[in-house]
Assembly symmetry: C2
Homo-oligomer: 336 residues x 2
DNA sequence: TACCTTAAGTTAAACGTTTAACTATCAGTA
DNA sequence: TACTGATAGTTAAACGTTTAACTTAAGGTA
């Protein structure tokens, strides 16, 4: 491994001072003659000089890196968000460090510590609910919340979806289609997002004069297996229903599988409504009716918002932007 | 934003030199009395001191960060790899920067440049084939290849699967089950991986005395849509087959969907064999028979290998480890 | 002539660590 | 007594930038 080429080398070779090279690199070349400018630039290219960002960051206190804290990249909802965030970030010259928390507070705390140490310029955060508010105070850097809201006020922005309204619209659609007994298989209830979806389900029922009963609501996790298992639970309790609203598409897919195995047809016997519109929702049998979230855009907008704040360094103004993106009911064949 | 607490602050407060604080932080405290040790440690906790990794890295030339270059985190094959890599990395105190190349050389080159600048300690790389070999020379840091092999010799390790043998085993299984006309819907052929899978398909046919004919091979991309489209192409050419080997599970899922729409039943009329065993392969109808890759383990082992090399700094020894992990034929219901 | 302005730089401190080399004190020992 | 060794530190250079403040020479102006 040969030694890194430094500004010092370039400066010596070009017969100028280090400061001159630095200024040329950073386009602060108002006071540099065209001649030296090109001479230095040529040397830089020839010697393959790359700036040492450690040294730079030490002075500027900017790392051009952001953190992305999510529960689990393995859940198909998140890769698209991540992709959107990364595309935007890299467009602006930022890199992104990924952190999977599995919704475990301990892991989350640990990542917060690490990102602080690595001095990322900001964080995009899909946080786990319990006790999260307190932790945000540890940060001296801007945080943008994504997907999951929280009351925390030391957060500079949010990119969300109106989960309550979206669920309400979805469940209302089920009602309009003539479904009478609509169950809800929820995911983990740890997040505000989950609570909002439940509230939307409830409001839709109420506003259409239908009974809201907790025995029709099952709470679990956002995994296919849970959708599959929840159906068994309903059966044990010999509860009948003609439609199921699912906390996300994975749950819906698991539920469909379980129903199929019992000879119950979707949508003939039971209608199924998902949430998210993940990539494979259109490939299942039947293709899933679901509430689409603009995942890629969420990631993109979150990164955009965060980077704007980082670069504007608007301290006092602290606009606390709250971006609410539109959902869309995508009607396919899992509902009649 | 208040100023960072530095070693200097701690040192002054404790009445010792900066070096002493540094040594205590790094557990090089052979020459430090228990008294000062605890006094300093308490101050560190009280003041909330966090080391500045920029400054540290500037001296040590280690960033405790690795890069992960993959084509697309949105392809469900990669999140598990990523997750494995991240879990291992974080266990060893490393963070990981994600880079999606979309298999575009330009993006790939750009990320290589950025990772070099950010001075990551190493890179895990699922590279895009064309011209890739040349680029590796740009690196001064260790690279381990994952999923996709290459002839490049300035690579310190590889974590792979024997794609040829795996495909051969899979297709042989189809033959044993009595399938006579086996088509192959391949993904992008840009990688060695893809070429090996094709070779395995071919060898299986040959060794069982069956004809190998390119008209039964369609080359496209690793997306569901392509699986769907490929079926239309076969139909246009009025080619008949009784089984299809698919380059990955996404392709298989698209193909099944297309077949279903044409009233062709899987596995009754046509058997389908996938590759990867992504999370949803067990949730499709019918559940997919597929060749399982140990994705999480691949990521984990790659990170482990890389970090070992980074920390051992074994320069001359350069063992160039080549880890070949086992695949497994998972028989579900898409084949008879 | 004396002064001012501008262009084209240079100087040197600062950023916060790590680490090799050095020092000071004291107890033990021959 | 003089030396040795151990203990518990300290000193200062180095890492590679950025940047505010300064310099120097040339040309313009009154």
């Amino acid at each position: 491994m040969k030694r890194q080429v430094t500004m010092k080398d370039i400066a010596k070779e070009a017969g100028v001072s280090i400061a001159t090279v630095s200024m040329i690199c950073n386009n602060k070349d108002k006071n540099i003659s065209e001649a030296t400018r090109t001479r230095v630039l040529e040397l830089i290219a020839k010697q393959g000089y790359v700036p040492n960002v450690m040294a730079r960051s030490l002075v500027t206190k900017k790392t051009k890196t952001i953190g992305l804290i999510i529960p689990d990249i393995t859940n198909p909802f998140f890769p698209e968000i991540a992709r959107g965030a990364e595309d935007m970030a890299s467009k602006s010259g930022y890199s992104v460090i990924y952190c999977n928390t599995d919704d475990k507070i301990k892991r989350q705390d640990n990542y917060i510590k690490i990102l602080t140490e690595k001095m990322v310029d900001g964080i995009i955060f899909a946080h786990s609910a319990e006790k999260a508010e307190a932790d945000f105070n540890k940060f001296r850097i801007p945080i943008v919340l994504i997907d999951r809201d929280s009351k925390a006020d030391n957060v500079v922005g949010r990119v969300l979806v109106d989960n309550e309204a979206a669920s309400m619209a979805g469940v209302s659609y089920l009602i309009q289609q003539g479904y009478k007994k609509i169950a809800y298989i929820a995911g983990s209830m740890k997040t505000k997002t989950a609570q909002d979806r439940l509230a939307g389900y409830r409001r839709a029922l109420m506003e259409h004069g239908m009974p809201y009963d907790l025995k029709w609501v099952k709470k679990g996790s956002y995994r296919s297996q849970w959708g599959y298992d929840a159906i068994q639970e309903f059966e044990k309790e010999s509860l009948s229903f003609d439609a199921i609203f699912c906390g996300n598409d994975l749950i819906a897919i698991g539920a469909i599988k379980a129903l199929k195995e019992k000879g119950i047809y979707v949508p003939k016997d039971v209608g199924i409504l998902g949430f998210d519109d993940v990539y494979l929702a259109q490939m299942t049998t039947p293709p899933l009716t679901t509430i689409r979230q603009p995942k890629y855009e969420m990631g993109y907008r979150a990164a955009e918002l965060l980077i704007n704040i980082i670069e504007k360094e608007k301290k006092q103004e602290e606009k606390k932007e709250r971006i609410i993106l539109d959902t869309e009911l995508v009607i396919r064949q899992s509902t009649k």
